[in-house]
């Protein structure tokens, strides 16, 4: 019984929240890594692209709800998501045309593109806030819990509760589908292969007749799709607040760099590494240890490596350690 309680406590407070957070980070990091691999710069505007995409999706969700269209037990936002992606893709393509193409034509150094993306970030910041405001918005509807804490306790008779929100399951499932689709696209389709060729060696790709503008456009569309999906899932699971997406930028970059910039597999692994470290390092293991230890060995004080205020410091610390000892990341990406 005690062993089960320990497992349930660990599931409820560490494994389930970290898995859904990890899936959200992985999707974000995939977008960053894709842009880095193919367009060769770190896109600082990615966090705010997520905010813009989720903002649009929320507006569309409200529209659908007003029309009475829904998905029953699933959140309406999933129905609005494809349209949100289309609009976000249109915005990033316009941005590319207006800002990045100029620097690409001039073959500017990556750092100039990075600085341009910081400018784009601030503009997107403003657009999102004008569009939907700065307040916290909850837009999840449909079934809220798959397993609710009270029912679980009543059904199992355990001391510890286990709660599983439907948004957490949706997040992980959607992330798996998106990742599968992305890998299929990159490995199996002609456009995907030409993107990888472009990423490996730009000049050779050009010589073999690959149209660079098409590759760039497809990359942006994919990045917008990933950003909008990640942002909407994050907003569904937690709550939408424009500022939070700006704050997400750090863990997302940490995830992309830890995995190896430019390496899609690395981005996914990095997302989960960052998420699990953030949650596990700040979790107080007192109860879990208390259940596992025999008799009254249960500890009085907290068994916690860092207090929860230092959550963001975990991403920083991992980032610095990886950059010091393995600058190309765990999965052999490009060095920063």
């Amino acid at each position: 019984m005690d062993f089960l309680n320990a497992i349930v406590a660990l599931m409820n407070y560490v494994i389930i929240p970290a898995s859904s957070y990890g899936a959200q980070l992985a999707l974000g990091a995939l977008g960053v890594t894709l842009i880095y691999g193919i367009l060769r710069f770190s896109n600082f505007a990615h966090g705010d692209t997520m905010a813009f995409g989720s903002g649009i999706t929320i507006l569309l969700t409200w529209g659908l709800q007003a029309l009475g269209v829904g998905l029953g037990q699933l959140p309406t936002a999933l129905l609005a998501l494809p349209f949100g992606i289309a609009l976000t893709a249109a915005l990033v393509l316009v941005t590319d045309r207006a800002v990045y193409r100029f620097y690409r034509k001039k073959k500017s150094a990556p750092v100039i593109l990075v600085m341009a993306s910081v400018g784009v970030m601030f503009i997107m910041n403003g657009i999102t806030r004008f569009m939907i405001g700065v307040d916290e918005i909850r837009f999840d509807d449909g079934l809220r819990f798959i397993i609710s804490a009270k029912e679980f306790k009543a059904a199992t008779g355990l001391d510890e509760a286990l709660a599983l929100r439907s948004t957490q399951v949706i997040t992980v499932v959607t992330a798996l589908l998106v990742v599968w689709a992305l890998f299929w696209f990159l490995n199996r389709t002609r456009t995907g292969k030409s993107m990888r060729a472009f990423s490996d060696n730009e000049d050779l790709a050009l010589l073999s007749g690959i149209n660079p503008e098409k590759v760039v456009a497809v990359t942006w569309i994919l990045a917008a799709a990933l950003a909008t999906t990640a942002g909407t899932l994050y907003g569904l699971d937690k709550a939408f607040k424009a500022f939070n997406y700006f704050q997400l930028l750090l863990p997302i970059f940490a995830a992309a760099i830890v995995g190896g910039l430019g390496n899609p597999l690395g981005a996914i692994a990095g997302g989960f590494i960052i998420a699990f470290s953030e949650v596990a390092v700040t979790y107080d293991f007192r109860k879990v240890v208390g259940y596992l230890m025999p008799g009254d060995w249960s500890p009085d004080g907290p068994i916690q490596l860092l207090s929860t205020e230092y959550k963001f410091a975990v991403s920083f610390a991992i980032l610095i350690i990886v950059l010091l000892f393995k600058p190309t990341g765990l999965f052999k990406g490009k060095s920063v």
Partner: protein, 394 residues
């Protein structure tokens, strides 16, 4: 050019002298920020008192009182200091109702109000640190210190038969002050605080904080936070994870928004905020309803009283100069004298003009103790069937 400058300077001087019958009072509360849902009714309360005095035409020979609003933001001390500096140096206010939150109030008091010698009466800054702060006699508050709230909250929790709680507080002067004073009072009464940890406002996700609190355990969770900010996030996270069923809400959390957000999910939880029962409060709430705002909103009544105290002190001192009238604030607030209820400010001004003495009771049964803070009556509320109900007063 020189003549033009001289002429305009002279005009400005004359204009200044001519408008001496207009007294400006600042209202410095957080119109934006974590307590923005409380700020509107607070400012309306202060301005209601000012209008009452203006309309009576009895203060200092018929002076009109003009409110000047400043956004103290509640959390950003630098922004609050700049806003208060603006109303003191540009608008030349003779007194300020504000600030709203403790950290911001301390900053604007020390950096601007004290150097310029302007009286501040805060309706809602409750940190114990303000009791002992050196203030040159310029600072008062119509709300009680959180040292008192800690004791009251202890009594209420003990009365529910709970003697083991976890505490989470918003990471600022208000949160830490109240959490520490509560812990001291609760432990002195024989209770046990399993954990006393901070949370930061403005995050999307509080599952890590909730996890740490749940690990420490306790029969109830005391949420010393803000209802428009992390406080609600913690409650949401704790309910979702099934970590706590019973919550204790101090003044920053008790609001209509709590009922709207959680409804029946927080049934069985309880809390308290400074507010007193009695004739004064009933009259005030009726006046507020007539003026078109919610008089029961937290700290709105305290704001009315803060503005009223400033103006009565001016009348008693016969001057709108804060350096002069600051000494009269305690006199008009406390006995002896005729009791003054809300809506009776004109009567109070008549009594003062006739050389009499007043004891301002107002909407919150004002009684200033110590260094000029309210002795404190608290309203105990409980959540039942998705509604917030007033249980009693302590």
């Amino acid at each position: 050019m020189k003549k033009l400058l001289l002429a305009s300077a002279a005009t400005a001087l004359i204009a200044g002298a001519a408008s001496a019958e207009e007294i400006k009072l600042g209202v410095s509360v957080g119109f934006t920020g974590p307590l923005e849902s409380l700020a509107g009714p607070m400012a309306a309360g202060a301005e209601l008192a000012m209008k009452e005095v203006s309309d009576s035409g009895k203060l200092l020979g018929g002076a009109t009182i003009t409110p000047v609003r400043a956004d103290s933001t509640c959390i950003d001390a630098a922004a609050a200091t700049a806003a208060v500096e603006r109303i003191i140096t540009t608008d030349r206010v003779s007194g300020i109702v504000g600030g709203m939150c403790s950290g911001e109030t301390i900053a604007s008091l020390q950096n601007v109000a004290m150097p310029n010698g302007v009286v501040m009466i805060s309706p809602s800054a409750t940190s114990p640190a303000l009791s002992t702060l050196e203030d040159n006699g310029l600072f008062f508050r119509t709300s009680p210190s959180d040292a008192r709230q800690g004791v009251v909250m202890t009594d209420i929790i003990m009365a529910h038969g709970i003697n083991e709680v976890a505490v989470t507080y918003t990471n600022n002067d208000y949160g830490k002050g109240l959490a520490d004073s509560f812990q001291a009072a609760f432990e002195a009464a024989g209770g046990k605080v399993t954990v006393n940890s901070a949370h930061d406002d403005g995050k999307a996700d509080y599952s890590a904080e909730v996890g740490a609190l749940a690990a420490a355990g306790g029969a109830a969770l005391v949420v010393v936070g803000y209802v428009d900010q992390g406080g609600s996030g913690i409650v949401r996270g704790a309910i979702d994870a099934g970590a706590f069923d019973t919550f204790v809400f101090p003044d920053g959390m008790v609001s209509q928004a709590l009922e709207d957000k959680f409804g029946a999910e927080i049934d069985g939880s309880f809390g308290q905020n400074p507010a007193s029962a009695g004739e004064g409060r009933d009259i005030y709430v009726a006046m507020a309803t007539a003026a078109g705002y919610d008089g029961t909103s937290a700290f709105a009544a305290e704001s009315y009283d803060a503005a009223a105290l400033i103006m009565l002190a001016m009348a008693a001192a016969g001057s709108a100069d804060p350096k002069v009238y600051k000494d009269k604030v305690m006199d008009v607030a406390n006995a002896p004298g005729e009791k003054i209820l809300p809506g009776e400010l004109a009567k109070a001004l008549d009594i003062i003009a006739a050389g009499g003495d007043v004891d301002y009771v107002g909407a919150t049964a004002v009684e200033l103790i110590g260094a000029g803070e309210s002795s404190g009556t608290y309203r105990e509320v409980a959540f039942k069937d998705g509604k917030m109900e007033v249980v009693g007063y302590r």
